[in-house]
C-alpha cells in the first residue's frame, strides 16, 4: 500500500509542477491567433493586486498565455523535420501604422507623357547583328563601347565642316552633353515630384539666354518703371513676351482690365485703324505696272472713241514713238545724195 501511496504522491508532486491547461474566465478572451495576440477584458481582482501584485500578475499572464497556446494547438499541425508546425491564419486585428504608407512612385515627365499618348517601352535586344562588322554586337553594357570603337575607327568629316575638326572629340562632347542634359532632367523630375517651388533662373546673359528669355527680360525691364511702362517707346517691330507664367513676372500685368473701359474704346480703335491704314504702302512694282497699263489702255480707248473717222479706232498712232526704237532700213528707196561729202575718218568698206 505504501508503494501505491508513494507513487501517487510522486505523481501528484509531478502534477503540481505543471499548472492545469484549462483556464476559467469570467468573460471570454478575444483571440487573434494570426498576430499571436490575446486581449483580456476581465477586471483585475483588486485585493489580490494590492496584496501580492507580482504573483497575481504572473499567474494572470500565464493563464492568458495558456489560452493562446491552447488556441494554437487547435490549429491543424504537421511535422516538418522533427518539429511540429502550425500555419497561422490571417491576422484580424488592425494594427495602426506610424507613418502613412508610401504611394506609388511619381511619374517622370516622359513617363507621364508616354502614358497619355499610350507609348509603351520597347525592349531592345541584348545583342544586335552588325552588318558592317559581320558579327553580333552588344547594344548596351559590357563591351559595347569597345564594339563601337571597333566599328567607328574612322569618321567622315562633313563637307560643310572645318576639315581640321576632331570628329572623335566632337562625338565624345556630344555624348557628354547628353549625359549632362539627362542629369538636369533627372533633377527636374525630382523637383517636380517633391512639388518644390524652384526659383526662376532669371536673365542668363546674352550668351546663354534663349530668344524667348531675352524677350521676357526686355518686357519685364520695360514695364519696371513707376508707370508700369506705360510711357515707354516701342520699337517698330517689337513683340511682347507671351507664354505660361510670364504675366506674373511683369509688374502691373496681373491687373485685370475691365470689360468696358472708361476711355471710349471706339476712339482708341479708330486711332489704331487710322495708324494701320496710314502705313506707308510698300512699292509694289508689278501692281504699279499693271495700273499703268490699265490707265494707258483706258486713255487709248477714250481717244479712239473721240475719233470716229477711223475704222475700229484701234490702230495706234504710234509712228512718232516708233522712231525712237531704231531706224528702219530705207529698202533701196533712199537717196544717195552724191553731192554730199563722205564722212571723215577711216574709209569703210
Amino acid at each position: 500500500m505504501d508503494v501505491v501511496k508513494e507513487v501517487l504522491a510522486k505523481h501528484q508532486k509531478e502534477l503540481d509542477k505543471y499548472k492545469p491547461i484549462t483556464v476559467e474566465k469570467h468573460l471570454e478572451c478575444r483571440l487573434d491567433v494570426g498576430s499571436l495576440l490575446i486581449t483580456d477584458p476581465n477586471d483585475f481582482d483588486d485585493r489580490e493586486l494590492r496584496d501580492n501584485k507580482e504573483e497575481y500578475l504572473t499567474a494572470l499572464t500565464r493563464e492568458n498565455t495558456q489560452l493562446l497556446v491552447n488556441a494554437i494547438w487547435e490549429l491543424p499541425t504537421e511535422r516538418v523535420d522533427e518539429s511540429i508546425v502550425a500555419k497561422l491564419p490571417e491576422p484580424t486585428t488592425v494594427l495602426p501604422r506610424l507613418r502613412k504608407p508610401p504611394g506609388p512612385r511619381p511619374l517622370t515627365k516622359w513617363e507621364k507623357f508616354a502614358k497619355e499618348k499610350g507609348i509603351s517601352k520597347k525592349k531592345k535586344d541584348k545583342k544586335t547583328y552588325d552588318e558592317t562588322m559581320d558579327k553580333w554586337v552588344p547594344t548596351y553594357g559590357f563591351k559595347r563601347a569597345e564594339a563601337e570603337k571597333a566599328k567607328d575607327w574612322v569618321l567622315e568629316v562633313p563637307q560643310n565642316a572645318d576639315p581640321n575638326t576632331d570628329m572623335f572629340q566632337k562625338k565624345i562632347d556630344l555624348r557628354n552633353e547628353k549625359v549632362a542634359k539627362n542629369e538636369i532632367q533627372r533633377m527636374k523630375n525630382i523637383v517636380r515630384a517633391k512639388k518644390i517651388d524652384m526659383p526662376r533662373s532669371g536673365y542668363l546673359g546674352p550668351e546663354a539666354a534663349s530668344s524667348s528669355q531675352l524677350l521676357t527680360a526686355v518686357t519685364v525691364a520695360k514695364s519696371s518703371t513707376a508707370s508700369v511702362g506705360k510711357f515707354q517707346n516701342k520699337l517698330p517691330k517689337e513683340k511682347e513676351a507671351r507664354g505660361l507664367g510670364i504675366k506674373e513676372l511683369i509688374p502691373g500685368g496681373k491687373r485685370k482690365q475691365s470689360h468696358i473701359t472708361q476711355t471710349p474704346e471706339k476712339e482708341a480703335n479708330l486711332d489704331l485703324i487710322k495708324s494701320v491704314l496710314n502705313k506707308k504702302p510698300k512699292l509694289d512694282v508689278s501692281k504699279a505696272v499693271s495700273m499703268e497699263k490699265r490707265d494707258n489702255r483706258l486713255a487709248r480707248e477714250a481717244e479712239a472713241e473721240n475719233e470716229p473717222g477711223k475704222k475700229g479706232g484701234k490702230k495706234p498712232k504710234g509712228k512718232g514713238s516708233r522712231k525712237a526704237v531704231g531706224k528702219k532700213s530705207k529698202g533701196n528707196r533712199g537717196q544717195r545724195a552724191p553731192g554730199k561729202k563722205a564722212q571723215a575718218g577711216r574709209k569703210r568698206r
Partner: protein, 180 residues
C-alpha cells in the same frame, strides 16, 4: 471676354484691312450702336456693347461664345479668319472674285480656284490680295487670297491656281465643332 491687347488689335485690323481696306472703319464706327472686338480663349469676337454687358455675369469657364466669332489667334500670334466673319466682310469687300457655277461645289469642298473656275474678277487686284469669293449670282461663298494679280490671270494657263482657298461656307458643316 477680355479686350484685345494692342498688339493683337493691330494684327486684327491689319488682317481686316487686307480684305475690306478702308472699310474697317465702318465696323467700329456704326450708327446702330457701339460694337467692339473681344478675345475669349484666343478667339476674336465682334460684339455689340449691349450684349457684352449682359455677358459680363458669366465666368470665363461658363462662357462658350458671345457675338460673332471673327477668327482665331494661333500660338504664334497669327490670326486666321473663320467663315463666320463672312457676314461682315462681304458687304465691305473691295476686291471680289466670282466663280463659275460649275466650280461652285468644288470651291465649297475647300479647293483652290483655278483659272477655269474663275468667272469674273475685280480689276487691279494685286498678288496676295485678300478677296471675297462670290457665286455668279452674287452670293458670297467664302474668302481667299489671290495667287496671281488680275493682269497675270489673263495670261495664265487654264489650270493654274488663281485664288487660294481660305474659308468657305461649306465649313459650317465640315468644321462645325471648331468654328465658334
Amino acid at each position: 471676354m477680355k479686350r484685345l491687347s494692342d498688339e493683337r488689335a493691330k494684327i486684327l485690323f491689319e488682317h481686316l484691312s487686307k480684305y475690306i481696306g478702308t472699310n474697317v472703319k465702318h465696323l467700329i464706327d456704326r450708327p446702330d450702336g457701339t460694337y467692339c472686338f473681344r478675345e475669349h480663349k484666343d478667339r476674336v469676337y465682334y460684339v455689340s456693347e449691349r450684349i457684352l454687358k449682359l455677358s459680363e455675369c458669366f465666368g470665363y469657364k461658363q462662357l462658350v461664345c458671345v457675338g460673332t466669332c471673327f477668327g482665331k489667334f494661333s500660338k504664334t500670334n497669327k490670326l486666321k479668319f473663320h467663315i463666320t466673319a463672312l457676314y461682315y466682310l462681304a458687304p465691305y469687300a473691295q476686291y471680289k472674285v466670282w466663280v463659275k457655277p460649275s466650280f461652285e461645289q468644288q470651291f465649297l469642298y475647300g479647293n483652290h480656284i483655278p483659272k477655269t473656275g474663275l468667272g469674273r474678277i475685280t480689276e487691279n487686284a494685286g498678288q496676295y490680295q485678300g478677296v471675297v469669293v462670290y457665286s455668279m449670282n452674287d452670293l458670297p461663298l467664302g474668302f481667299g487670297v489671290l495667287a496671281r494679280s488680275t493682269t497675270d490671270c489673263k495670261t495664265a494657263d487654264p489650270m493654274t491656281t488663281v485664288c487660294f482657298h481660305q474659308s468657305d461656307i461649306g465649313e459650317y458643316i465640315r468644321a462645325e465643332d471648331t468654328l465658334f
